[in-house]
């Protein structure tokens, strides 16, 4: 267990608490009860904007369940207060290898990243690069000591000390983006950051940042830097576990799209993991861009085009709504009533009583799905109003 990266938000701290009671009620749950951190973007937040929130919703919808969150910060006592207290049954986004749960197949694999400014042209891609001794390097830390980052271990073994620590105990002042901002602002030369965190915030940085993966395993210290990420389910919930596991397989395409939206740098899956169904998008040179809330996938772009030759007439530009038809950004949001399935059905068949026509003649299923993706991106406020553009260098 000592190989688990501590900066996967403190989950390592929870391991001693994982003796979960196995005597639970056997009733099939109607709600997917998720234990999550209320303030931990890009993973989760109280508004459900994190990618783990999104994937949870996707799975719940697939299983015909409702998502219910029990929010508790990822700190000492997380397990005790959440899954152990039976407040929730499911933990999204834990590294494969943690025990105390039933774990699903991995649904993504990422790795730690070297993050630096493109204009610095550092091009660091080895822990043995001699320049590391002279650079100011930032790492995430957990708690109040600075000794438990895997990067700290690898670098310490090479005589590189004096790292700059960025706490993962988030407060109003201490934000998750601080470590990436420090790179962007030239306060530190290099950061070594867990992939999803690095990709998400680097994309929003005001200057172009370069991401490069660490090796899957630092041989000299046996520290792993790439991890399969799985869903943990309370041990007693065998049926639920099996259903989630199947759902992850069914929804792997949509999960990959969500991960792409969040600019999660995916690690090449080891052969074994690939068999288990991990999305294995190959990571190439990952250069992050200035904040770009107009960057979309090809499908979302096409959806934007359909929307703005058809739907905007009644649903308003940007799906903002008009006197004639509702604001779709609200309708498809987590507060709204329009599920993915209902959206597709409504566009295809129309709602004559509301004046909504059937679009069967003009749009096929694939095009309607593209339309949904566009509106969802707007609804999620990931996409700014205006002309979006397709991701180019992103993948």
């Amino acid at each position: 267990m000592k190989s688990i990266p501590r900066s996967i938000r403190g989950l390592l701290l929870l391991i001693p608490c994982m003796a979960i009671a196995a005597a639970d009620t056997p009733e099939p749950p109607k709600a997917l009860r998720i234990c999550a951190d209320p303030d931990n973007l890009p993973f989760s937040d109280k508004e459900g904007q994190g990618f783990e929130n999104r994937i949870a919703s996707l799975v719940a919808e697939d299983l015909g369940m409702k998502v219910e969150y029990f929010y508790w910060p990822h700190r000492r006592g997380f397990m005790r207060s959440t899954i152990k207290a039976k407040e929730c049954d499911v933990l999204m986004g834990i590294p494969k290898g943690m025990d105390g749960f039933l774990v699903t197949r991995p649904y993504y694999r990422s790795s730690y990243q070297y993050v630096s400014r493109v204009d610095r042209d550092l091009d660091i891609n080895s822990l043995d690069d001699p320049r590391l001794k002279k650079l100011k390097i930032g790492v995430n830390t957990i708690g109040y000591d600075y000794n438990n980052s895997p990067a700290a271990r690898s670098l310490g073994a090479r005589g590189i000390v004096g790292l700059t620590g960025f706490s993962t105990f988030y407060t109003d002042e201490n934000r998750p983006n601080a470590i990436i901002d420090a790179v962007a602002e030239d306060k530190i030369d290099l950061a070594i950051v867990w992939g999803p965190l690095a990709g998400y915030f680097a994309k929003q940085a005001p200057v172009p940042l370069s991401l490069a993966p660490l090796p899957d395993l630092d041989q000299s210290t046996k520290t792993p830097y790439a991890f399969d990420v799985v869903v943990g389910v309370r041990k007693s919930e065998k049926d639920l576990h099996a259903r989630i596991d199947e759902s992850l397989e069914r929804k792997k395409g949509e999960i990959a799209a969500i991960l792409a939206e969040f600019n999660v740098p995916l690690a090449r899956a080891p052969a074994a993991a690939a068999k288990e169904g991990t999305p294995s998008l190959q990571q190439t040179s990952a250069t992050a861009h200035a904040p770009d809330k107009l960057l979309v996938t090809a499908d979302e772009y096409q959806g934007w085009k359909w929307f703005h030759v058809y739907c905007f007439r009644c649903h308003g530009i940007d799906a903002m709504g008009s006197d004639l038809a509702p604001n779709l950004r609200k309708s498809v949001s987590s507060e709204g009533l329009i599920t993915h399935e209902l959206f597709l059905k409504t566009v295809l068949e129309g709602r004559q009583e509301k004046g909504m026509q059937s679009w069967r003649e003009l749009l096929d299923d694939k095009q309607i799905e593209q339309l949904y993706r566009y509106i969802k991106a707007r609804s999620d406020e990931r996409l700014d109003p205006g002309r979006p553009h397709r991701a180019t260098a992103a993948q």
């Binding site: 085009k305 058809y310 007439r313 530009i317 940007d318 006197d323 109003p385």
Partner: protein, 601 residues
């Protein structure tokens, strides 16, 4: 009937012969010079009034004398008519028609007529639910084209319906917005719907019965387009049978657009009426290889038969939505040293054209706006614009920086011509765009736009200009920069003034010679209508204008569209997204007269 007035503007020297020829068939109009009996005052669409009480040295005394609300809050294009001391006024959808008694204080309502129209029509209108006004027949009939697709005839005395004839069908995507024209005992109506894959046409009806006399299509075989043996084809690209079919791929011509929603003019001597056709359908050029005739075309037709005398296609194979529907102003001009029966047209595509209206030959074609980049010039030998392929468009990518934008350097806002100065007064836009085609399917009654457009201010950053234009040379004589598009029409008078409105709501009067601003008044809403002038029963000159922002340029305010997305409103929001900061909805007519005390100060 209104023929003589039409010719008044031709200038003293050159028109004596013409006048003589026509006097016999006309009633005397001397006492009626204070009236405004058709949309452009005279069938030449000059928007010139011989009234001269209001002039540069007293225009400062112009004050509002009464106002009238139409009760509609969408874009108000067009202008009222004044006939026999009654003002006839139209509104935006639902196209209410009012008769106002000018002989009584405050001009009370004589009648109003609210035509029944289904509200489902609203989303079928491309660019706000505007109406550009009424036509009048001396037998006491008024005509209005209803958005839902019916041509409505009213008794001008009572406001009672005389007849109502279906000419378009909103369920098929065709609507009606333009002012019809009355020629002899015929009323000619057009259709809108170029964004719905309709097939453009003009249709003539008997003023007394509403019975169709003929219909001439913009696309299709010569028999449908009414091209016969006496058709003049001046250019190689205009020669050959059935170009309305052969310049399209497959049967695309059947949904090929070429709508007819602009202003119609008429030359009684040549017995030809003139109008332009709109964009080919769809906006995505990849789906319709070929010249796409006769979209984007100026037509001269015989109003009795509908037969085309000549046609000139300005923008073959349009890739930018440069509808050719803007007004064709008829005037006699000295072109290349010869008095010429000219037709002057300021096209959306950025060229100001001067044609010989007898033959249809292009005499002058010059950019009237800055930075036109889709075509460098029009080759006068071939009649074809010389394009810059860099600014061609496709569905494969977004083409950026095209000038002018789809809305054109000028759109529907009609220009005016003063025979006194020999200049054209042209309200213009200064808007450019990015344009990306979208591969769209056709279904009856469904939007068939096929492009996403973002508009933005053109060179200089000002979104409009009001210019004086010498059509004999193709040159700007003076220019007033406007912060917003000058999206309302122009009026010029024998008093030496030019009036125009702005989208902020200012009505301005400028000196016709110099362009110097002499007066302005802020009306309740943005102006996209056309100022007009008339003589009241008290013998005094009045100026009237509708204010009520909307139309394509003002759709954001009119329809309450958010300005977050610049591609909205068919792209207009990018250029006018801040419209809600300078104007709110309205539908008010303001009438101005001279206050002698102010004038003499």
């Amino acid at each position: 009937m209104m023929i003589v007035r039409a010719l008044r503007g031709f200038g003293a020297g050159s028109c004596a012969v013409v006048l003589g020829a026509l006097l016999t068939s006309s009633v005397a109009f001397a006492e009626q010079k204070g009236e405004w009996t058709m949309t452009g005052r005279t069938p030449d669409l000059q928007r010139f009034s011989p009234l001269d009480q209001i002039k540069p040295n007293n225009v400062a005394g112009l004050v509002p004398t009464w106002t009238f609300s139409t009760g509609a809050l969408r874009g108000h294009e067009g202008n009222p008519l004044v006939i026999n001391n009654v003002m006839y006024l139209h509104s935006a959808f639902p196209n209410t028609v009012f008769a106002l008694d000018l002989t009584k204080p405050g001009s009370p309502m004589l009648w109003k007529h609210v035509p029944a129209q289904p509200s489902e029509t609203i989303p079928v209108a491309c660019c706000d639910v505007v109406n550009r006004g009424l036509a009048y027949h001396p037998s006491g009939k008024l005509f209005i084209e209803l958005l839902a697709g019916d041509l409505l005839a009213l008794d001008a005395k009572t406001g009672k319906q005389l007849w109502r004839t279906k000419n378009a069908d909103y369920k098929e995507g065709s609507t009606m917005t333009n002012a019809p024209i009355v020629i002899k005992d015929t009323v000619i109506a057009g259709i809108s719907g170029g964004e719905f894959g309709v097939r453009g046409r003009v249709t003539a009806f008997d003023v007394n019965t509403g019975q169709e006399k003929w219909r001439a299509y913009s696309t299709g075989p010569d028999a449908d387009v009414k091209i016969g043996s006496d058709f003049i084809a001046n250019y190689a690209s205009h020669k050959g049978p059935d170009l309305g079919v052969t310049t399209w791929q497959g049967d695309q011509w059947k949904k090929g657009g070429g709508t007819t929603w602009g202003w119609y003019s008429y030359d009684p001597e040549l017995n030809l009426f003139y109008y332009g056709t709109g964009n080919p359908g769809t906006w995505n050029p990849d789906q319709r290889p070929g010249d796409n005739k006769w979209s984007m075309t100026i037509f001269a037709r015989n109003p009795d038969t509908g037969q085309a005398r000549w046609a000139y296609q300005m923008t073959p194979h349009d890739e930018w939505d440069y509808d050719g529907v803007n007004e064709m102003i008829l005037a006699t001009l000295n072109v290349n040293g010869k008095p010429t029966k000219a037709l002057v047209h300021f096209d959306r595509n950025g060229f100001g054209y001067t044609l010989d209206r007898t033959t249809g030959k292009v005499l002058v074609a010059q950019h009237y706006g800055p930075g036109v980049n889709w075509a460098s010039k029009v080759d006068l030998a071939t009649g074809v614009p010389v394009r810059n392929p860099k600014y061609g468009t496709t569905a494969k990518e977004n083409t950026t920086g095209i000038c002018p934008a789809a809305i054109g350097y000028k759109d529907q806002q009609p220009a005016a011509f003063s025979p006194k100065t020999g200049l054209f007064y042209v309200p213009t836009n200064n808007i450019c765009m990015d344009y990306e085609g979208v591969e769209v399917k056709y279904a009856v009654g469904q939007p068939y736009v096929g492009a996403i457009v973002r508009m933005f201010p053109g060179p200089g950053g000002n979104r409009g200009r009001f210019i004086a234009w010498d059509a004999t040379k193709g040159k700007v004589v003076w220019e007033i920069k406007e912060s917003l598009a000058a999206y309302g029409g122009a009026l010029t008078t024998a008093g030496g003034l030019v009036f125009y409105g702005t989208m902020e709501g200012w009505l301005k009067a400028v000196d016709a010679q110099t362009g110097k601003e002499l007066w302005r008044f802020k009306t309740p809403s943005g102006i996209i209508g056309n100022p007009m002038t008339y003589l009241g029963p008290d013998g005094k000159q009045y100026v009237a204008v509708l204010s009520g922002i909307g139309g394509w340029a003002g759709i954001g305010v009119a329809a309450g569209i958010s300005n977050e997305d610049p591609t909205a409103g068919l792209g207009a929001l990018g250029a006018f997204g801040d419209a809600d900061k300078f104007s709110t909805q309205g539908g008010v007519l303001t009438v101005f007269g001279i206050n002698q005390k102010v004038a003499s100060r």
